[in-house]
């Protein structure tokens, strides 16, 4: 770490702009500051989350602006930055013909864990922590999708990075694994910086200390989850499901969840215009983080976009699962 750098934040993003094609900015004047703890980066697909993460991970050079990790510039000091980070990309697999522990061992060694004994112990430890210790000898090609994802988490952790950057980490995980993952992130976030990008707000869990929302290449929100929740007041309602039809066509809304059964059943909705809500609707005073995110987007008039993207993502995930099933069958 440069001696002349006073580190206040682990990740400092300063006016970053990036594009792949001119006049089509993926990121535009992004500013962000992250300290220790779990940091959630929310945003619709295509919002620029992955690009931002790849810039932080030194895989991309921003067109404008700068980013620092623990005081190191991601462009000028990319090698030092790499010493500090662990990265789980959105699309991760591993060398199919390698065994699980071999993958981790190699990556740990490349990352600087050159003491074989220590490395071995660390690999075992991290495998246990992600629940892959039982398949340590198994080749990657024989792992399930969830296991591969866990392996991805393991590889990002194996060299004990100070900064962990995880991009859509829970894709493909079953609910139990998701829960375990959230716990793990919460635990790890106590003494390091974790930047976690997701479009599934629930994945951020209770351990998240800060949230940023990336929308169309801009940071539209950065703050604590409570702040986001506070902003969601007036946008989240509960209405009887029998009155679902009363929701006017002009109203853009998103049904977030259903509660109860039959006559007593109610739905929780996020709306973009509280004035258009039917009178029978009951305002929700304790919105969830997901509702808060949707409400935030709704407030920005992006609810339909967010919803559409989620649907697309779900459809893609389903398709992918079907392909995997077919492949396995073959």
């Amino acid at each position: 770490m440069p001696s002349d750098v006073v580190v206040e934040s682990s990740i400092e993003i300063d006016h970053i702009t990036h594009f792949y094609k001119k006049n089509q900015n993926i990121l535009e004047d992004v500013n962000l500051s992250l300290g220790t703890g779990l940091f959630g980066l929310l945003g619709a697909n295509g919002a620029g989350k992955s690009t931002l993460m790849r810039i932080i991970c030194t895989l991309l050079v921003p067109k404008e602006g700068s980013a620092r990790v623990c005081g190191y510039d991601v462009v000028k000091d990319c090698r030092q930055v790499r010493e500090l980070i662990g990265y789980l990309p959105q699309e991760f697999s591993a060398w199919r013909l390698h065994r699980v522990e071999e993958v981790l061992d190699t990556l740990a060694q490349i990352s600087g864990m050159t003491n074989k004994k220590i490395r071995r112990a660390r690999v075992a430890e991290v495998l246990e922590s992600v629940g892959l210790d039982a398949v340590a000898d198994r080749k990657v090609k024989k792992l399930s999708g969830g296991m591969v994802r866990r392996l991805g988490v393991a590889q990002a952790l194996v060299h004990e990075p100070q900064v962990l950057i995880v991009d859509e980490p829970t894709v493909g995980l079953d609910p139990e694994e998701r829960m375990r993952f959230r716990q793990l992130m919460t635990q790890l976030g106590r003494d390091r910086t974790i930047l976690l990008s997701t479009h599934i707000v629930a994945d951020l869990g209770s351990g998240v200390s800060q949230i940023a929302i990336l929308d169309d290449g801009n940071i539209s929100f950065q703050g604590e989850p409570t702040e986001l929740l506070n902003r969601a007041q007036d946008f989240v309602y509960r209405i009887p499901s029998s009155e679902e039809g009363l929701l006017s066509d002009e109203l853009d809304f998103e049904i977030v969840s259903r509660e109860g059964f039959d006559q007593d059943a109610t739905v929780r909705v996020v709306v973009d215009d509280p004035d258009a809500v039917p009178s029978s609707a009951e305002k929700v005073n304790d919105p969830s983080l997901e509702e808060a995110y949707l409400a935030f987007m709704a407030a920005r008039g992006k609810l339909s976009t967010a919803r559409q993207i989620e649907e697309e993502l779900d459809a893609k995930a389903k398709k992918k699962q079907e392909r995997m099933k077919l492949k396995k069958l073959r």
Binding site: I85, I110, G112, G152
Partner: protein, 1162 residues
């Protein structure tokens, strides 16, 4: 360390990936399939057959060829393998969706690429090493097995390959492919460029200068390694290998520029570093190149300087009479010499200064001339001139003392080689490498200095010493004391076998009792075995590691002694005595060059009193299998010994690479005692040596490096075919007849073609040594045989012994030889004429033969007399034998030689107990070239044979028979009037690289036409020798396969001048063709896919051309008869007339043998 460990991590992962790929194992399998059978095949050949023939032993001795053959193949296979392992390295991680994870790791792009390159390198190295060590284990494991033993690879070459050759080269190729994979977007291009570069490497390796090929190719063990002179590596090779690694690292640095990941590099700095490393690597190559070029330049300077002097002083000016002194040999370090020379000026014009050749690497400390210290001398480029401005008249004698020290530079040797490898490409010398690498050796392991190393001063320039027409051999007496480290033994003509060891120094005195023309210095810590036979000490000096075979044949000591006694007696019978009291058969390193320079490029394995035994020859050949008689229980001890002795004798005789020790021994009987000079001396010397060889050994040997100079030499093929024949496992060891090999290699139509152009004394030895040697070899040996058989062995021997008596220590001329012949009344001229100066040869015609039954012999056994006439149509005498058979004999009988005077006839009468079925005349050297069959007028019907009461007539009677005269004007296919418009078969397009051209066999040419080969498809007129053809001395016909169109037709022409106008009859001679369906025809069927019987003759398209007229003549050969066929009568003016024959025909084959114009008056 940390960085290295991270790189190692990348390497390990790459190795893991590669080791789990199917293609990796595919290459492992290919590598094993290529190398293991070759390895075991060679080992099998060596163990089972090597004992029969040194050449086969040499090329199959896995101890020596292991690294070059097996290692070379492995490098090749795995280099190709690397292309297929690394071509997708750029996208492999992306496909595995690992690239972002990897690229976020703290290892820079160079580390990544280096790690991957090392991973690929190791994954290629591992199976190579496993294969090599597996082979090593097999070799060790078989050592105690009699059924099959595999020789243990020579350790230095083994480790040299692994440590010096293998790693840098595999690393280079891996780096190169990684570089390609980074800079080229398409993987297919990576493969194409990767493989293409390998082809380019081969091409460059073939074209690079010979002297560079040691160090600039991937194998430094191309030559044979040696136990006697172990060779691990040298500075140049190490420098080149280092350059390879630096160059490879440079490539990897440059490859990082193509890496998409930002790495914090400053591009300019990386580019500079990469280019810098590449440049440093290139500088390393250049340094190696420069060093080698400088060596070649030094050599060129020496050669030119010596050639200049040679032109200035075309005649020998000095005769060294005596060489005495002492030499301290400190092997590998220094040679300190004190020489005393007695010289005499022999140039009739006198000479300016006294000129010697002396190795330029020697430092001259002091020179004394006639007792006084000499300041006025020049010593530059190996030319030592004393008092350069002083005139010395003929006959002046001088004493020179010279003190010098140094290590003789081997490059000074053989400056005037007919094939100068230093001016040639590596490919030119590819086979010559098999004959040794170092001209001379002066190391701490062994000292081997052939005379041409000029380790002692030699009169005159160091070139053209074998042009003995003007530079006769310089014979001088020797008395040298050689001081060596204790336990070292020096080989050579030690008159007193006195060795004195004192104070850690062994001293030997070399003092042959007669003058010698040269002296070799060979010394080592030899294992010595000696026996005194007929007052001569015969000693074997072998490397201590190579005594196994001495033990195997130890029980033959008595037989060997008896054999040597017999050989000495045979030689003495012809007045040829071994002149020294010692003969050393000394083992020399496998990497010592065994051929010399000059036009002759002769073997150097025979030196006065010394016979070099190449390490690859007897010392390391496996005789275990062939001398193990456990499975031959029917053989008693005597039979076993008889077989072993025969095996040994034939092995020693079968060396076709100049190492035949019997012929080497014979050189001591004549060539090292006197030499020819004057006009035609080279041919005279050669022929008389052949004569002596045939007298003493019964065979003649010939070796010249030319035999191995071609990429695909006939000689080599012949050696191998002869080796194949050596699989005979009967009671007698197989023998490779050097005569037979000689016949196959040299007695070709092309050689005859040249022989018809030059008399022996005019052969272009300097301009075209290869051709000259072939002619000399063919004619010289045939002449020697004719002289011996024509005069008788005793008589020929008498001439030779008188030559030695009169000219020992000096030289003789052709006239001297003829004078001795005249004085002894043994007329060589009457047998072979003026064979040296005259190009003319005898030509024979025979009558048909007749058989009569003459009176029975004393035991009432029937006797048949077969008689025929033989006419020599040329004005030179000749020698023939007549051969005959009764049909029941396996081998033809043969008469003694019969001399036939010029332009005369004789009648030959053959007496036999049964009627003869076949008779012929075998000329030694004649225009007929081959055997001439005699047509017998009857079949073997005993009843029809006329019976006469008289007794048998003598073998040879005078005769007035003359061959019947031919009427008309005949144009034969051998006559000048016959021509073709064949395409130029010898021309290979210029764009074809030389090393490819070398593999294209040159057609054998017989009087301007290619020789017809059975089974080959003939697109051009070719010459076939067949008894059914028309001819005078030779019966040949031109022939061609039908084909062509009007525009592509290939014509032949019979041209003649019509002397008077009138109606002329034209006849066409149709030869008797071989109409049987031979194997060749079956082969042809396989080639052209249809059965085409060459007997199927159709209609010939013949055109008669004269003035401006053309007449088409149709001749249906299918209904023609063998012999003359009338084509018609034509009204002709006095003019040139041409009969043109096209290859267009509805038949398969056309013949153009002869035409005949019969004049009107007939």
């Amino acid at each position: 360390m940390d960085y290295a460990a991270r790189i190692w991590g990348v390497s390990l992962s790459e190795m893991r990936s590669a080791s789990r790929l199917a293609r990796t194992w595919l290459f492992v399998v290919i590598g094993l399939l290529i190398t293991v059978p070759a390895y075991l095949g060679s080992a099998f050949s060596h163990y089972n057959l090597g004992a029969f023939e040194p050449y086969l032993s040499m090329v199959s001795n896995v101890r020596y060829i292991f690294a070059a053959q097996i290692g070379g193949s492995l490098i090749l296979v795995y280099s190709i393998g690397i292309v297929f392992l690394a071509f997708d390295i750029r996208v492999r991680d992306k496909n595995a969706r690992m690239h972002e994870v990897l690229e976020s790791r703290p290892i820079d792009n160079f580390g990544f690429l280096l790690g991957r390159t090392l991973g690929i390198t190791f994954i290629a190295l591992l199976p190579i090493l496993v294969t090599m060590f597996l082979a090593l284990i097999i070799a060790f494991a078989t050592q105690f097995n009699v059924a099959f033993q595999v020789a243990i690879p020579q350790p230095h070459s083994f480790w040299q390959f692994i440590l010096i050759d293998l790693v840098p080269n595999i690393f280079f190729y891996a780096a190169f492919v990684v570089f390609l994979a980074m800079v080229l977007r398409f993987r297919l291009l990576v493969i194409i460029f990767g493989i293409g570069f390998m082809v380019l490497l081969f091409y460059v390796a073939a074209l690079m200068p010979y002297q560079l090929s040691d160090v600039l190719t991937w194998m430094s063990v191309q030559e044979y390694p040696s136990d006697v002179r172990p060779f691990f590596t040298n500075t140049l090779t190490l420098l080149e290998r280092l350059a390879i690694i630096v160059f490879s690292l440079g490539m990897l640095y440059l490859a990082t520029l193509a890496h998409h990941r930002h790495d914090g590099y400053v591009h300019a700095r990386v580019t500079a570093l990469g280019v810098g490393l590449v440049v440093v690597g290139c500088l390393g190559f250049y340094g190696v190149y420069l060093n080698s070029v400088n060596e070649a330049d030094d050599r060129l300077v020496w050669t030119n300087e010596h050639l200049k002097v040679d032109q200035s002083f075309p005649n020998t000016s000095l005769d060294v009479k005596e060489l005495t002194g002492s030499i301290d040999v400190n092997p590998g370090s220094i040679l300190q010499a004190q020489y005393s020379l007695s010289v005499e000026v022999i140039d009739t014009n006198g000479t300016e200064g006294l000129l010697f050749s002396f190795n330029p690497a020697m430092d001259i400390e002091e020179i004394r001339l006639d007792g006084s210290t000499l300041q006025d001398f020049e010593f530059e480029n190996g030319l030592l001139v004393l008092n350069p401005k002083t005139f010395y008249p003929i006959g002046s004698k001088h004493e020179i003392e010279l003190v010098a020290e140094g290590v003789p530079d081997e490059l000074f040797q053989y400056l005037d080689s007919g094939i100068d490898l230093y001016g040639n490409t590596a490919f030119t010398g590819i086979n010559l490498r098999l004959l040794g690498q170092f001209n001379s050796i002066f190391t701490s392991d062994v000292v081997a200095l052939p005379p041409d190393a000029a380790w002692y001063p030699q009169a005159g320039p160091h070139v053209n010493r074998d042009q003995i027409t003007r530079r006769p051999r310089d014979f001088f007496t020797v008395d040298l004391q050689i001081n060596l480290p204790e336990d070292w033994v020096v080989a050579g003509p030690r008159e007193q076998n006195s060795s004195l060891s004192q104070g850690g120094v062994a001293s030997y005195r070399i003092n042959p009792k007669i003058p010698v023309p040269s002296l070799a210095l060979v010394a080592d810590e030899f294992h010595r075995v000696a026996a005194e036979i007929e007052g001569i000490t015969f000693e074997l000096l072998f490397h201590p590691k190579h005594t196994k075979n001495l033990a195997i044949f130890a029980d033959l000591k008595d037989e060997i002694v008896r054999d040597i006694e017999e050989r000495l007696r045979t030689a003495a019978r012809f007045g040829l005595d071994y002149p020294f009291s010692t003969l050393s058969l000394v083992e020399v390193p496998a990497n010592l060059k065994i051929f010399g320079g000059g036009w002759r490029m002769d073997t150097v394995q025979s030196q006065p009193g010394i016979l070099f035994m190449r390490e690859l020859n007897f010392p390391t050949t496996s005789f275990v299998k062939q001398t193990n008689f456990e499975n031959r229980t029917e053989w008693d001890e005597e039979t076993q010994k008889e077989y072993k002795f025969g095996l040994l004798e034939s092995f020693l005789r079968n060396d076709l690479l100049g190492g035949n020790i019997f012929l080497g021994f014979v050189r001591n009987l004549f060539v090292f005692q006197t030499g020819a000079t004057g006009s035609g001396a080279e041919a005279l010397d050669f022929t008389v040596e052949a004569l002596v060889n045939q007298l003493v050994v019964g065979d003649s040997g010939f070796f010249s490096a030319y035999m191995m100079a071609d990429a695909n030499p006939t000689g080599q093929g012949t050696f191998l075919s002869s080796s194949t024949q050596a699989t005979y496992t009967g009671r007698q060891a197989p023998t490779v007849s050097t005569s037979r090999v000689r016949e196959m290699v040299f007695n070709t139509n092309s050689t005859w073609e040249s022989a018809m152009d030059y008399p022996l004394n005019k052969l272009p030895f300097s301009e075209d040594p290869g051709t000259s040697l072939k002619v000399l070899e063919m004619k010289g040996n045939k002449l020697a045989s004719a002289i011996i058989d024509g005069l008788g062995k005793e008589e020929a021997g008498e001439i030779v012994s008188h030559l030695i008596k009169q000219h020992q220590g000096t030289s003789y001329t052709y006239d001297d030889l003829r004078q001795i012949s005249a004085d002894l009344e043994i007329p060589i001229d009457q047998v072979v004429g003026d064979w040296l100066n005259d190009i003319k040869l005898p030509g024979y015609l025979v009558s048909s033969g007749s058989i009569v039954r003459v009176s029975d012999d004393a035991s009432n056994q029937p006797r048949y007399q077969t008689s025929f006439h033989l006419h020599n149509g040329e004005d030179v005498p000749g020698v023939v034998t007549a051969w005959y058979t009764t049909g029941s004999q396996e081998v033809n009988s043969q008469t003694n030689a019969i001399t036939i005077p010029p332009e005369s006839s004789i009648r030959i009468n053959l007496i036999s107990q049964d009627p003869l079925t076949e008779v012929g005349v075998q000329p030694y050297l004649s225009l007929n070239r081959d055997s001439i069959p005699v047509r017998l007028g009857r079949k073997t019907d005993d009843q029809s044979i006329e019976q006469v009461s008289e007794g048998p007539r003598p073998l040879v009677e005078s005769s007035n028979w003359m061959p019947p005269e031919q009427t008309g004007i005949i144009v034969d296919d051998l006559d000048e009037g016959f021509s073709t418009d064949n395409p130029d078969l010898d021309v290979i397009p210029e764009w074809v690289p030389n090393f490819v051209k070398a593999f294209i066999p040159k057609p054998d040419i017989d009087q301007k036409l290619p020789v017809h080969r059975s089974g080959a498809i003939g697109y051009a007129w070719a010459r076939e020798t067949t008894e059914g053809a028309f001819g005078t001395y030779r019966r040949t016909t031109a022939r061609i396969d039908s084909g062509g169109t009007e525009s592509t037709a290939v014509y032949c022409y019979f041209k003649t001048e019509i002397p008077m106008p009138g109606t002329w009859k034209l006849d066409f001679y149709l030869p008797e063709a071989n109409f049987n369906k031979t194997e060749a025809m079956k082969l042809r069927k396989a080639m052209v896919g249809e059965w085409r019987d060459t007997a199927n003759q159709g209609i010939y398209g013949i055109t008669l051309q004269f003035l401006d007229q053309e007449h088409e003549i149709e001749f249906d050969a299918s209904v023609g008869s063998q012999g003359w066929n009338q084509l018609g009568e034509f009204e002709l003016p006095v003019a040139p007339v041409t009969v043109r024959i096209s290859n267009k025909s509805d038949g398969d084959t056309l013949f153009a043998d002869a035409i005949r114009w019969t004049p009107p008056a007939s």
